[in-house]
């Protein structure tokens, strides 16, 4: 290190040199870090960003495969596809049904999942085995669950068999003929499969909560409900929000169960938005219109998600 003979000068020169070395190190580290994340960034570009750009582009042109031209040669439609969405009653009805699934399935899954999580906070014999069994439905493919519930609720299926055994031969229910009942069976299948997911997250969240506030509340004479309502639940709020957002996003996109169990029928009475977009894109061949619907859904979901996780960001 160079010295000017003055202690203060020495100090300031030394500091400058240190800062310069630090900056160089940071630059080198930044370069190294950039180098490390570049492959992942490139992968993301290819897997996420470029396809998204193509979908947005497709939504702005008028293209169908049967037109006989390539998608990049298709004429611009600008916002015509989006304008069409606002006049498409089938689209909005499908959105409504998807939201219905989110509210019905998500709400019940949360209630049952939280109840189970609270129950499992206590020790009981065979707890580990029961926990594994509860998680099992979540590991099954959607299609398998859909088929199982379709078979259960068939006109001659086990559910109607049990009903006739209990209430007589006239007690069969036409589950898939009535729109409400048909949607009910789909929601039930979703609840059976995805309650374990909410249970798992909430159970982990409960297990990670600090014990002191609960003990303090107990010492102050709070009863179990008061402790749950005013201590446990507020502390668990971020976990609950994350769990609900993830589950709501998944439930909104429900496809397989509907496809297998009702095909969206009778008519379109159980058709959800994913099934409708699939039909428009891959059965009707209107890929541009399907792309516009997908983009609009993406925007809507992004806004709702931002709104939903805002309380977590605000602490």
């Amino acid at each position: 290190m160079a010295s000017s003979g003055h202690p203060l000068a020495d100090t300031s020169e030394g500091r400058a040199s240190f800062l310069s070395r630090l900056r160089r190190a940071v630059d080198e580290e930044r370069f190294f870090g950039t180098l490390l994340i570049t492959p992942m960034q490139l992968l993301l570009w290819f897997l996420l960003i470029i396809p998204t750009i193509i979908v947005i582009y497709l939504s702005l042109v008028a293209w169908e495969p049967r037109m006989g031209v390539d998608w990049w040669q298709a004429p611009f439609a600008f916002l015509r596809n989006y304008a069409q969405i606002f006049q498409d009653g089938r689209f909005w009805a499908a959105i409504g049904r998807s939201l219905g699934v989110v509210v019905a399935a998500g709400g019940l899954e949360f209630a049952v999942g939280l109840g189970l999580a609270l129950l499992f906070m206590r020790d009981f014999p065979g707890k580990r085995i029961v926990t594994s069994v509860i998680l099992y439905p979540m590991m099954l493919p959607w299609v398998v669950v859909g088929l199982a519930f379709y078979l259960l609720f068939l006109d001659r299926g086990p559910v109607n068999f049990v009903l006739t055994q209990w209430f007589g031969s006239g007690a069969t229910v036409e589950w898939f003929k009535n729109p409400l009942l048909a949607m009910g069976t789909i929601v039930l299948a979703d609840i059976w499969q995805w309650t374990p997911f909410l249970f798992l997250i909430l159970y982990s969240g409960l297990g990670a909560l600090p014990k002191d506030p609960v003990e303090a509340a107990m010492n102050l004479g709070a009863n179990r409900w008061q402790i749950f309502r005013h201590v446990t639940l507020p502390m668990l709020k971020p976990v609950i929000l994350i769990a609900l957002v993830i589950r709501a996003l998944e439930a909104f996109k429900i496809f397989d169960l509907v496809f297998v169990m009702t095909g969206g029928g009778p008519g379109t009475s159980t058709e959800t938005i994913s099934l409708y977009i699939y039909r428009v894109g891959f059965v009707f061949g209107q890929l541009s219109y399907a792309a516009a619907m997908a983009v609009l859904i993406l925007v809507m979901i992004t806004l709702v998600t931002r709104f939903a996780i805002q309380p977590i960001e605000e602490g």
Partner: protein, 400 residues
């Protein structure tokens, strides 16, 4: 249609529903085979090995050009419980009730009474299984509608389904479905017919010809040896019975524009569907059905189908009409099906269901391009069986 977009060239030949030809041709995915037909002569519309008309037309043509080579006959076939029908007690009871002898029904009116008579829910057997579900709900309705003189569109592609013929046909079929079928005719899928009829829980079923083979096989059926086959009912017009049989799916071969050797691929499909190889393939494997005239007299085919069924299938095929085969065929049919299924499920009245379907058809036509669709429809209606075309002419359905 994926190949139309990505053009891998990995496929030489496509085996698809024959009503997809319009979409595939317009996308440029498949090639016009007309020149090869002239060069190699696949014996489709002439000669002793010709296809049963009108299969020679609607499994091969789009806008008057040959884009495909039919490989199948999917004229919907009618099956009933011969053992019950032949019971003398039933014959007497039927005559007492309707004042006429018990015979196979010739008209739709007779058919409805016949089904109602044999509907015995208390004995665990319903009158019929006819598709009223999400994907094939149109079949039975269309058979009635077209035999009454109905047509899907007029000469300018305006839908004609909201008409007396359309509404009456749907009202009749709704009554039959709601009063004399199990609920899974509406809520099940195509495979339900393949369990209901062979297990003996319906008296009558209308489905693909393969159901006959399935029902006669003791390994898959409880009613083997008890199956009867019948021609389609029709509608009387000035003393003449006009029958219309839906031809549903009907596999056909087309050639990829992006394949490496399109002409060689064409030669392969001509060989595969040819008089000798095709016969062997159909008689032995059984997933496709007979479509060439001489095969209906062939010993191998008689063994595969049974002596009784083959002439019935031949007659049904002669009255078979095509699925909508225009560009957007899947979309037209889907919109029709979903509205009909709602009508069968009791959610919509007949007229409302058909009006909703017609409105959606107008939108599809306008979006795809009315002029092109008019050209395709004018060509497509020439592919209908001659008796139906004659009836349309008599009713002045289209300008001459």
């Amino acid at each position: 249609m994926n190949e139309a977009v990505v053009r891998t060239g990995d496929y030489d030949v496509f085996l698809t529903f024959c009503n997809w030809i319009g979409d595939m041709a317009e996308s440029g995915l498949i090639v016009d085979q007309t020149a090869w037909w002239e060069k190699y002569d696949p014996e489709v519309d002439h000669g002793p090995n010709r296809y049963v008309a009108p299969l020679d037309r609607f499994t091969t043509l789009y806008k008057g050009r040959r884009y495909a080579l039919g490989a199948d006959d999917d004229a919907f076939s009618l099956f009933y419980r011969k053992d019950i029908m032949d019971n003398p007690d039933e014959a007497k009871a039927f005559e007492d009730r309707y004042g006429r002898p018990l015979e196979l029904p010739k008209t739709w009116k007779e058919f409805d009474e016949w089904i109602a008579f044999f509907d015995r829910p208390d004995e665990g057997i319903r009158g019929a299984h006819m598709y009223a579900e999400r994907y094939f709900a149109y079949t039975a309705w269309a058979a009635r509608f077209i035999s009454k003189g109905g047509a899907y569109f007029d000469d300018n592609m305006d839908p004609l389904i909201v008409s007396d013929e359309g509404v009456t046909a749907l009202e009749e079929q709704i009554r039959l479905t709601q009063d004399h079928m199990w609920p899974d005719a509406v809520t099940g899928d195509w495979s339900v017919a393949y369990s209901r009829f062979p297990e003996g829980s319906v008296f009558f079923a209308w489905a693909w010809a393969s159901l006959g083979k399935w029902a006669q096989d003791p390994e898959t059926s409880k009613i083997a040896g008890k199956v009867g086959y019948m021609d389609a009912p029709g509608t009387m017009h000035d003393g003449e019975l006009v029958k219309a049989v839906p031809h549903v799916v009907g596999w056909s071969f087309s050639i990829s524009r992006y394949g490496k050797a399109p002409e060689a691929a064409y030669c392969f499909i001509q060989w595969f569907t040819g008089p000798a190889v095709g016969l062997d393939a159909i008689a032995r494997v059984g997933t496709l059905d007979a479509f060439r005239e001489p095969w209906f007299d062939d010993a191998k085919m008689k063994e595969a189908y049974g002596e009784e069924f083959l002439p019935v299938l031949h007659s049904l095929t002669q009255n078979a009409f095509p699925d909508i085969s225009l560009r957007g065929a899947a979309e037209y049919l889907d919109n029709l099906n979903l509205n009909l299924q709602q009508a069968f499920a009791g959610q919509k009245g007949a007229e409302r269901a058909l009006k909703d379907a017609a409105d959606s058809w107008q939108q599809i036509t306008d979006r795809i391009g009315r002029l092109g669709q008019i050209e395709a429809w004018r060509a497509e209606r020439q592919n209908y069986p001659q008796p139906i075309q004659d009836l349309w002419a008599k009713l002045g359905r289209f300008p001459s």
